[in-house]
Symmetry: C2
């Protein structure tokens, strides 16, 4: 169904994984610092899908350059993902990440914050090293893309965290869209594609076409993630099923449910969702899930994700019809297949 | 006594403060994001001594360039300090920072971690902007200094945090020295001086002379900080007096005490120091402080700081005797005075 995409992801996975192992430090005269290095190696080497680096490498190839040229930048995207997830897991009080306890669950919050900071520094180190092979100008353009992206991600993250902090449950679909574009779409789709295309040799207007395409695709990706969190299989998905309900996460599904249900149910929902995770009973989580199913909120979200992915698909085909070399055509068909994977995946 | 130093610090303070206010964002269409911007502005504009930027600007002048040339780099040092302190305050469960509640005490840990991350991104943004005025090559050299520094700081931080995590109290003076060099000396003295000198036009061997000078000065700075934490005046010092005992911080003073006291007292000390901060009574904190005084541990630390500062003073005079232009002589006398300030300061 999406074998092309899976093959490409698998190839990326080993390339990126090898480069990370090769790049992050392992040896030090202090045993304690070596322990720190092992902790830094943890998240980046947990078996993720590596969609972000894959998009980056693929777009580099679409514009006719060797994927190798974008490898370190793709790895930096994975390091970004790692430090963000370590801090995000602390902020959300998460338990599992990719099937294994979150870093702070094993080592405590203080050490985990610091490991995230360490990986954050390593991300910039990797990007600065680009200069050796890509030269000053391109390296600076890449750095600027990362600066823009990081600023967006922390702002999106702030918005989402402040909803939790303020116990606010009145988000509209538009609020969700804005948060999701800043927090997910830019860093999962728009910037990875822009970076790959930039390194491949794309022009500015071509880069800018990725904003709309990546917005649609990124929000579709996030919605599918939220759907899987509710109806996925824990051993395939790698996080606790229903964990988003326990964490009180504002998803499109929940926003739809709030709109669709009765006022009494809505007040009931706020009571349950507003409780801290440890105070929520299994029955309460199940009750919220049942309501989501009975009001068709999950179906609604799945439809929405599908239609956004279709828009992304069309946008990509239209904007880049002029890229028709044999290698570009192959890369483009992999991208199309990746879009399907993104909304039909089970993990 | 150190009026020259105080005047220079005051001048730096307003230059750096103005540039920070001018650089960090304030306006956004979302009120929530504007709140995030205000939170980012908080630590960098709290009245700190700004010793790091001052050292950077002063060394730039010592080599004959205008301080202006190093201003953005000096500001980046201040942004580094800010994100480190926000995360450090969470990791140490601190209460006050510069006389005001720590960020996480006001906004909670999740939002505060994210503000630290936001400032971390802004630090790199500032450094990358250097390219406009300093050109590619110098900008990259500065970026490399920051990469090296950040790696050291997170490693030093890990060592210190792991002592707390493992409830370990058997540190030697050498352990303390190693942690302190990585965590404090590089980022308070060595790198700020190297950066200023680099921008001013110093040669590589001149930059490397700062390693030994800054190591001595940086550890002296940290020891004096730890002394003030015990015997300073809260309203001048800006943190809770005795806070380090409450936090269980491994200081040179404590290490001296462990060496000097009886075995029975040592076991008693471990019991008290190992308790979480909220479980320590005022009497227990006072008891530890009394022991430190009775065994001369504070005097010992003060002597050690003084002798390190003297070494730094001599090293600086010897290594840079050849810099004898009128402006270099002025800058050098300010530096000498700053060294005195660093170990005789009350805040």
């Amino acid at each position: 169904m999406f074998q092309l995409a899976l093959d490409y992801l698998q190839e990326t996975q080993s390339q990126v994984g090898d480069r990370i192992i090769n790049f992050l430090p392992t040896n030090h005269s202090s045993a304690e610092v070596e322990k720190f290095y092992r902790m830094m190696m943890d998240y980046p080497t947990r078996a993720g899908k590596r969609i972000r680096p894959a998009l980056c490498l693929l777009m580099c190839e679409t514009w006719g350059a060797k994927a190798e040229k974008a490898l370190d930048t793709a790895v930096a995207l994975e390091l970004l993902q790692s430090w963000l997830l370590i801090h995000d897991d602390i902020e959300d009080e998460s338990i599992l990440r990719r099937g294994v306890p979150c870093l702070h669950q094993t080592y405590g919050i203080p050490l985990a914050i610091n490991v995230g900071d360490g990986l954050h520094c390593k991300m910039w180190e990797m990007l600065i090293q680009n200069q050796r092979t890509l030269g000053y100008e391109l390296t600076f353009q890449i750095l600027s893309e990362f600066i823009d992206l990081s600023n967006r991600v922390v702002e999106g993250q702030h918005i989402e965290l402040s909803w939790v902090e303020n116990n606010a449950w009145d988000q509209t679909e538009q609020d969700y869209w804005q948060m999701c574009v800043q927090k997910t779409a830019w860093y999962t789709c728009i910037t990875p594609c822009r970076l790959g295309a930039l390194i491949g040799g794309a022009k500015t207007n071509e880069l800018d076409a990725f904003i709309e395409i990546g917005m649609n695709l990124g929000v579709a990706f996030q919605i599918q993630d939220d759907v899987l969190n509710l109806i996925g299989q824990e051993d395939v998905y790698g996080k606790e099923i229903g964990g988003d309900i326990e964490e009180g996460k504002r998803t499109l599904i929940l926003i739809h449910l709030f709109d669709a249900c009765t006022q009494a149910q809505s007040q009931d929902l706020i009571k349950i969702m507003g409780k801290p995770r440890e105070a929520k009973t299994k029955n309460e989580v199940q009750h919220v899930l049942d309501l989501m199913k009975s009001y068709g909120s999950i179906d609604y979200a799945q439809q929405r994700a599908k239609s956004l992915a279709d828009q992304a698909q069309r946008g990509f085909q239209e904007h880049f019809a002029h890229l028709d070399s044999p290698s570009a055509l192959i890369a483009k068909s992999i991208f199309s297949n990746l879009i399907r994977f993104i909304i039909e995946r089970q993990h």
